[in-house]
Every structure is written in structure tokens, then in C-alpha cells.
């Protein structure tokens, strides 16, 4: 069976692939180092030497964006994985065990979700040291609540199936039921959701860095590079727009892929539709 991929999804796939390749091979692709001061001027215009010009302290902007992309994608990926593992395991567990475990977990998630994620993250980051590990943990934890809700909703439908009942009667352990009975059947809606969570993570880390509470200089992710160059905007220097547009392009291309996957999986059995 051949799959016809719509144009939008193809474009999305192409750019998503491109962004990930650039992220992986950043050290090979970047013409200069990420914190290498290459010019004595600041905000040089783009030239054959510096394709996108230089930033406020004379570093090559293109190199910085390439490394920034790498950092953004790297952190967003790890945080998405963390959020997915925690969220789906707990969601499945709540669905399979039911009773007070389900109640306790679900009410806790309700509570966490009643505070906007960004505000919650700011409150936590006001007290913890701001390191990459802490950022990934905070983002993964806050986002796992959404994955939890989805995973639980999907799993609740599956746990009433005869084969799960049969497995329970056979005396299988919860772990077995979760990984052998529920996970394979819940995978497609979860994978479709993964793209959306990844976008959310990209936006989240970019926003935190933009606010100065994410990746700390001289390291930078895309949001941080926007912050560094924002001052130039008021003088008519558009350097900050390049990283800003990169964030938007990354998010839009992943979104196009996610939309396509979502449309395909919801039409399958076991989807959310």
C-alpha cells in the first residue's frame, strides 16, 4: 500500500529533517565557534564572510544560530522524552489500578494544571539554580501532566477490553499489563501527541531563555540569541529576527508533520477521534 503524503506534510518533514540534521552536525556546519569573537565591530551587516552578519559583540550570527538550534532541539527532545515517560507510565498506572491511586494522581495533576506552566516554572526557577538539568526536569515535569491526562484517557478505554480482563484474570502483574497490553494499543495517539509536546517544549525553553531564565550565556539557545540581539532592533538592526524566525520555522514544520500524523492516527482504531 502506498501512502500519499500531502504537500504540507512533505514540506514539514523536509524542514524538520533539515533542522535535526543541522542540529546533529552543528560543529561541522558552523563556520565559526559559538562564542568566537570574529569581528571587532558589532552588528556587522551580512557579507560573504558572515552570511547573517555578526551579533552585538562581534560573533558570527549564523554559527551562533546553528549552535543555538542544536541546544534548543537537544533540550526540547530530552524534556519531551521525560514528559512522555513519566506522563504515560503514570497515566497507564492510574487507568489500570483505578481506585485511590487514580484519584490521587488525577487530582494532583488537576492542581498542577490549575497554575499556568510559565508562572509555575518561574516560581520554581526563582529558587533552584538555573542549569540545563534543572530546566529539563522542570519542563518535563510540568508538561507530563498533559501527557498523563491523554495517556489515562486512552488507557481507560483499553482497560475495559476483554483481552486486558483476560490478562488480569490470568494473574499478570501491572507492569506486564501496561507494557504488553496497553502500550501497543495506546501508542499511535501518544506518538501523534509527541510532535505537539515537542513544539510546546521548543516554545517553552525559548521563552524561558528569552526571559533570561533559561540557558545562561555564553551558551545560547535560539531564545537566548533573540534576547542578546533584541536591543539592536530599536536601532533598526534586524539581527534578532533571524533566530526568532528560526524558532517559528522549526515549530511550524514540526506542526505540519504532527497534524498529518494526528489526522492519520485518529482515523485508525484506538485513536482519540
Amino acid at each position: 500500500m502506498s501512502i500519499r503524503i500531502p504537500l504540507a506534510a512533505l514540506l514539514g518533514l523536509f524542514f524538520t529533517g533539515l533542522f535535526f540534521l543541522v542540529a546533529v552536525f552543528a560543529p561541522l556546519l558552523a563556520p565559526y565557534g559559538y562564542d568566537e569573537v570574529v569581528s571587532s565591530g558589532f552588528w556587522d551587516p551580512s557579507s560573504s564572510e558572515y552570511w547573517l552578519g555578526t551579533d552585538g559583540i562581534g560573533r558570527d550570527l549564523l554559527s551562533r544560530i546553528i549552535y543555538g538550534l542544536r541546544t534548543t532541539i537537544w533540550i526540547a527532545t530530552l524534556a519531551t522524552l521525560l514528559s512522555f515517560t513519566t506522563g504515560s507510565v503514570l497515566g497507564f498506572l492510574a487507568a489500570v489500578m483505578g481506585g485511590w491511586v487514580d484519584q490521587a494522581l488525577s487530582r494532583f495533576v488537576d492542581l498542577i494544571m490549575s497554575i499556568p506552566s510559565l508562572i509555575f516554572a518561574l516560581v520554581i526557577l526563582s529558587i533552584t539554580p538555573i542549569t540545563i538539568t534543572v530546566l529539563i526536569l522542570v519542563m518535563g515535569f510540568l508538561d507530563s501532566t498533559r501527557v498523563y491526562r491523554l495517556a489515562r484517557a486512552v488507557a481507560v478505554d483499553i482497560t475495559v477490553m476483554d483481552y486486558v480482563e483476560a490478562a488480569k484474570l490470568r494473574g499478570e502483574k501491572y507492569i506486564w499489563i501496561i507494557f504488553r497490553e496497553i502500550l501497543p494499543n495506546a501508542l499511535s495517539p501518544l506518538v501523534a501527541e509527541m510532535g505537539l509536546r515537542f513544539i510546546f517544549m521548543v516554545l517553552f525553553i525559548s521563552t524561558l531563555s528569552f526571559l533570561g531564565l533559561g540557558i545562561q550565556p555564553p551558551q545560547a539557545d535560539l531564545g537566548g540569541i533573540v534576547r542578546e540581539n533584541a536591543e539592536g532592533l530599536t536601532y533598526g538592526i534586524g539581527a534578532a529576527l533571524y533566530p526568532a524566525i528560526t524558532i517559528a520555522l522549526l515549530a511550524i514544520s514540526v506542526n505540519l508533520v504532527a497534524d498529518w500524523v494526528l489526522a492519520r492516527t485518529t482515523s485508525l482504531k484506538g485513536g482519540r477521534g
Partner: protein, 319 residues
């Protein structure tokens, strides 16, 4: 007691309980996490005496429950404490900034809400045709951009290149007359509108489609009612609740968007105040701002629920 009153009482008490729990989460979250506030404020080079003094002053040595109760008591009596970094009363600073933030948010809401409902209706009217498609494409674009990206792009184009509006809100003075104030926040308002517009349109569209596709609308059409009376008698009463819900959820979202937009445009509001003091690790300010943002967020969600209870025809006319 009617079913509506009972449901309302339940929902409102649930909201208050939630707020109490959130205050515990915010307080406990900032108390049990690793990290010594005193050390964070004074830096690594602080002497042990200075650290001990500051801890004493912060009341870190008191048992956590006492500290929480003191803090909560202060909150309830309207005393938010003093900022560590400036030694000034938080009440005063927040009072000024909160009204600035609300002014910004209300201006954005006044534009965004009618526009979103209108465009949502348009999308339903021209379903699957080009206006609908254009609307979903723009939705995809705006939800893929963080607020600050939209902010800087607008600032660069309309503030710096075209010079239609002032690029930042630095010149904002709360005591200036209404139109001067509006002018200085034109760009932030436009950005905030764009941020919530897409979501609100999409959700309005879904809510109206949901109502229009239900069986009772079809019945009304089939028995020969005019389109206008179908909408007035059947569609509208059922669409109010979902639309108000959409509006409230998006206003709640606006509250978060405000934080970033204020930083982008250097607007003296709550968001900027919060972010500044997270950087300075000024815990009392962060806690106070956190609980206020959470309270507004929970409050708007509560209003959404209350409106859907009150406008629900099934609840208003119990059998």
C-alpha cells in the same frame, strides 16, 4: 435551593479550595526545593554571620507550617510583605503594576474577543472554503510562534521600519490621558490580540459547528422555522455557554502571554515585575506575583464554569 444555586455553590467552593491548595503548592514548592535562599541572595562569598542574619530575617528558621500560616494570613489581610531586594512594600509596587497589566489585558480583550467571535462565525459560514482555510492556516502559524517572536517582528516592522507606533512602551505613564496611554501600548495590544486570536477563533468555530450539527437544529429546520428564529431560539441559547467558555479560557491564556509581552515592550506591569524578581531571586515578590497570576487564572476558569452553568437551558428549566 435550585439546582443552579447548588451547582454554583459547589463550583465556587471548589475554586476557593483550589486556590488554597495552589497557595500551598507555591509556598511549599519554594520552600522544599534544594537551594538556600540566603545563599542565593548574598552569593557564594557571603560570610556565615551574614547568612545567619539573613536567614533569621527571612524567618527561614521558623517551622514551615508557621511560615506558611503567617504568609497566608498576610495574603488574606492584603499584606504581601516586603521585597527582599529593595526593602519596599510589595503591595505598593503590585498595586500600581497590576492596574497597568489589567489595562493592557483589557484593551487586548476588547479587541480580540469580538474579532475572534466574528471570524469564528465567518469560518463556520464559509466552512471548507477559502476564508475557513485562510483562518486555519493563520492559526497554525500563530500557535507555532512564541509571543516574543510575534512581538519583535511586529516591533521591527511597525515600530522601527514604518514608525506607525512607538516601538516600546517605555513612555507609558499611567497618569497620562486615555488616548496617550492607548497610543503607547498599541503594539503590545496588537501582539496580545494576535496571540489569543487564533485559538479563540478555532475554538469558537468548533463550538458553533458542534451546536449547528446537533439534531434539534436539524429538526427545527425541517419543521420549517426561518433561519433567523432557528438561530435565536435554538442555536444561540446553546452556543452562549461554549463561546463564553472559549473566551474565558483564552483570557486566562492572555494572563500568561502578558508576562512575555510586557518584557518585550518594557511595559511596567506585573509580568515584568515577576520576571525581574525571579532573576534577583526575591522570593516574597515571586510568591506574591505567582499567587496573583494563579488566582486570576483560576478565577477566569471559574467564571467560565459559572456562566456555562447559568446559561445551560437544561439546568434553568428543571423538569
Amino acid at each position: 435551593m435550585g439546582p443552579i444555586a447548588k451547582l454554583l455553590a459547589q463550583r465556587i467552593s471548589l475554586g476557593l479550595l483550589l486556590l488554597l491548595l495552589v497557595s500551598i503548592v507555591i509556598f511549599v514548592g519554594t520552600s522544599i526545593l534544594p537551594g538556600d535562599v540566603a545563599q542565593q541572595i548574598l552569593g557564594q562569598s557571603a560570610t556565615p554571620e551574614a547568612l545567619a542574619n539573613l536567614r533569621e530575617e527571612l524567618g527561614v528558621n521558623d517551622p514551615p507550617v508557621t511560615r506558611y500560616l503567617n504568609w497566608l494570613g498576610g495574603l488574606l489581610t492584603g499584606d504581601l510583605g516586603t521585597a527582599l531586594t529593595s526593602g519596599q512594600s510589595i503591595n505598593e509596587a503590585i498595586g500600581r503594576r497590576l492596574s497597568n497589566t489589567l489595562f493592557l489585558a483589557v484593551c487586548a480583550a476588547v479587541i480580540a474577543v469580538p474579532l475572534a467571535i466574528f471570524l469564528g462565525l465567518l469560518a463556520v459560514r464559509y466552512q471548507e472554503r477559502w476564508p475557513d482555510k485562510a483562518i486555519s492556516a493563520s492559526t497554525l502559524t500563530t500557535i507555532s510562534m512564541p509571543e516574543f517572536v510575534i512581538g519583535y517582528i511586529m516591533m521591527f516592522i511597525f515600530g522601527v521600519q514604518l514608525r506607525w507606533f512607538s516601538p516600546t512602551a517605555v513612555g507609558y505613564r499611567p497618569e497620562a490621558d486615555f488616548f496617550t496611554r492607548l497610543e503607547s501600548i498599541a503594539l503590545p495590544v496588537i501582539v496580545l490580540t494576535l496571540v489569543v486570536l487564533a485559538h479563540m477563533m478555532r475554538m469558537t468555530r468548533a463550538a458553533i459547528l458542534n451546536v449547528m450539527q446537533s439534531a434539534y437544529i436539524e429538526t427545527a429546520e425541517l419543521k420549517g422555522m426561518s433561519t433567523f428564529s432557528v438561530i435565536r431560539k435554538h442555536a444561540f441559547p446553546n452556543a452562549v455557554a461554549p463561546i463564553v467558555n472559549v473566551v474565558m479560557l483564552n483570557l486566562a491564556y492572555l494572563v500568561v502571554g502578558v508576562v512575555v509581552v510586557e518584557v518585550v515592550f518594557v511595559y511596567p506591569g506585573m509580568g515584568q515585575y515577576l520576571v525581574d524578581h525571579v532573576t534577583k531571586r526575591d522570593l516574597p515578590v515571586v510568591q506574591a506575583c505567582g499567587i496573583i497570576f494563579a488566582a486570576i487564572y483560576i478565577g477566569l476558569n471559574l467564571v467560565a464554569d459559572v456562566v456555562s452553568i447559568v446559561t445551560n437551558p437544561r439546568l434553568r428549566h428543571p423538569k
